[in-house]
Homo-oligomer: 346 residues x 2
DNA sequence: CGCTGGCACTCGAAGCCTGAGAGTGCTAAC
DNA sequence: GTTAGCACTCTCAGGCTTCGAGTGCCAGCG
């Protein structure tokens, strides 16, 4: 029943929501009648609005103030009414031009992506670091730092670089490290990290590791090196864009939001969830299980190599957000980043 | 003349400023008389306050609202009245305990320092990345990534690790890279980066570089590698602490501040300036040449190795800030970080 | 002569009222 | 089913009043 809206009601709802998105003000019947020439009088529209309010798609802040979409209203809008604009080729070019990635560090690239998202959308950009699982391994190197500490450098097939410091239980000599990396590079290049892990695990099972000291070192080291890396780190850029949105003129709301930005855990949670599903996902305000972003919506998309999900990115802004222009940007950005990580883009 | 304040006037000014710092409200004569038992009646204090207002240390928001310190008032307070509390040993221990640094990446450490500053002060922490000039070099390593790209890994004497990617004009073979790093490590270990640069420059002047291909590669590569690294990057943490300060209840003010945080250039400018001077420095509101942090004060201190200035850190908060407790924290943190970079702390 | 109590004065904040304007809901007519 | 008309409601802005905090000044006191 609740989705049983007639064609006319739907288009009035759409008009109201779009009007509200454009103006941030409650929308009255007069305005709808005038600006969206539906050939109906304000009175008729009032009737429809009353119905829509009963359905729970609209609400009035007070008796004489026009209507504002509810979260349910936005939900219906994005699910059933919204026409997502495709990017034209100029816009796609513009996005693509920002990704000159070869030989850059993963962090830099992700921060950049986040900045790009925020500056194009005028909201706030989020990028969650990939678990590298499905990235394709090209090269690994170990640099001895001090007793028991080794810097591991990965290069992915697409030329992205990531490095981290690991601790080894016993000191490993420079010579051993060289042998180890030679071995790994010979046997593992071209596999995804996931496959590498499996292979290592398999070899650890085999007897020979027990007797071959070098081999056991190799396995220990690479297991350590492949443990979760940037896992779950989130890059947030453009937070101050949010300050321009009239709905956050109230300090209390803003405080909550900035807390969320700084703590990141809510965002990580949402981004993680978006990895489960396919394509662009939209979280609205305080829908079930979402807290801490009242009045906001989050548009996310996972990015992934051909072999599986690895991370998520998105844009957060007020619920009264320009969905139709942000969605394709998020979508296309995720595609680009996927390709980059796959190494297909060079 | 303007500094010719009698002892009594000074202590009344001090009382007023401290009262204002504690309450964030304009301070009236009654309050001062009551809470700071100076043995004077409100009427007398009123007279003094009128004088202080004439001097420009105080101002009244309006006729019947008590007085508020001006920037000049704060300036006089921090320069002449403020008693800086020393940290007790427990507090020093607490700070020290946060610096377990060996083998960590420079960025991580700096971000941590910034977080610590913000969480202890309850304001916002800033740390500007060091120019590595005066850090003592222990070890350098080159990892070939792809044609013409090399990852450089530095280790400082204190065990901090930093790495960056550089481009070489011509491809350099793995073997050459090894020779180059061997050479550098042999000849340069224990020198400061500044000295290393000088040495390299000197060698470039010498004739032999022209004829020795390997040598010229070495020099080119190390020059590239030693170019400004994190130079000028600023780590800002705890921005949302600012939101709790009542003076930023007004959105307009806050917006300006967050813009400044996101753009960073004002902050970089101030932090740079603080490197010129010795010890803790305090920038107040919109004193000459300072823009973009109206209503805020910045407490900074450079940190340095034994050989010279290399970076700066600090805390930014409202002008009505608890100077006496933040100053020693900034000061001691800078000392700690200096020691760490010198490598004296392990 | 410096300090103090007293007192008139000022000014903002809060509360109240009012009028204007926007928007609704209902009803009766087309 | 749609519309015009109309009474009704509610917010917002402005003006007015009251209240209280705090001042500035003055006269008197030690």
């Amino acid at each position: 029943m609740s989705t049983e809206l007639g064609e006319r009601n739907r288009s009035i709802l759409e008009a109201i929501i779009e009007e509200h998105i454009a103006t941030a003000e409650p929308v009255g019947s007069r305005t709808v009648a005038k600006r969206h020439k539906l050939g109906l009088s304000p009175a008729t529209i009032r009737n429809v609005m009353a119905d829509l309010e009963e359905f729970g798609f609209l609400q009035s802040p007070h008796t004489s103030a026009g209507r504002v979409p509810t979260e349910k209203g936005y939900r219906f809008y994005v699910d059933s009414l919204l026409q997502v604009r495709k990017l034209n080729s100029a816009e796609r070019k513009q996005l693509e031009s920002r990704y000159q990635l070869r030989g850059r560090k993963v962090e830099e690239v992700l921060r950049d992506v986040s900045k790009t998202l925020s500056s194009i959308s005028h909201y706030t950009g989020l990028v969650m670091a990939p678990r590298l699982e499905t990235t394709v391994f090209r090269h690994i190197e170990f640099v001895p730092l001090s007793e028991g500490r080794v810097l591991v450098v990965f290069v992915t097939r697409s030329g992205l670089v990531q490095n981290k410091i690991i601790e080894t239980r016993v000191p490993v000599s420079r010579r051993e490290l060289e042998q180890i990396s030679n071995y790994l590079n010979r046997t593992l290049a071209g596999l995804s990290i996931q496959q590498v892990k499996e292979k290592i695990f398999a070899e650890m099972q085999e007897e020979k590791a027990r007797y071959d000291r070098l081999m056991s070192r190799t396995l220990e080291l690479s297991r350590e090196a492949l443990k979760e890396n940037l896992g779950g780190e989130v890059f947030i850029e453009g937070t101050s864009n949010i300050l321009d949105q009239p709905e956050f003129a109230n300090v209390e709301t803003m405080r909550g939001l900035f807390r969320a930005f700084e703590q990141k855990s809510t965002l990580i949670d949402l981004l993680n969830r978006s990895q489960q599903a396919d394509g662009v996902q939209i979280f609205i305000g305080s829908e079930p299980g979402i807290t801490g972003i009242q009045g906001c919506s989050l548009i996310t998309c996972h990015y992934a190599s051909k072999r599986g999900t690895i991370g998520a990115l998105g844009v957060i802004g007020p619920s009264r957000m320009n969905y139709s222009s942000v969605i394709p940007v998020v979508d296309y950005t995720a595609r680009l980043l996927s390709q980059v990580l796959d190494g297909d883009l060079d």
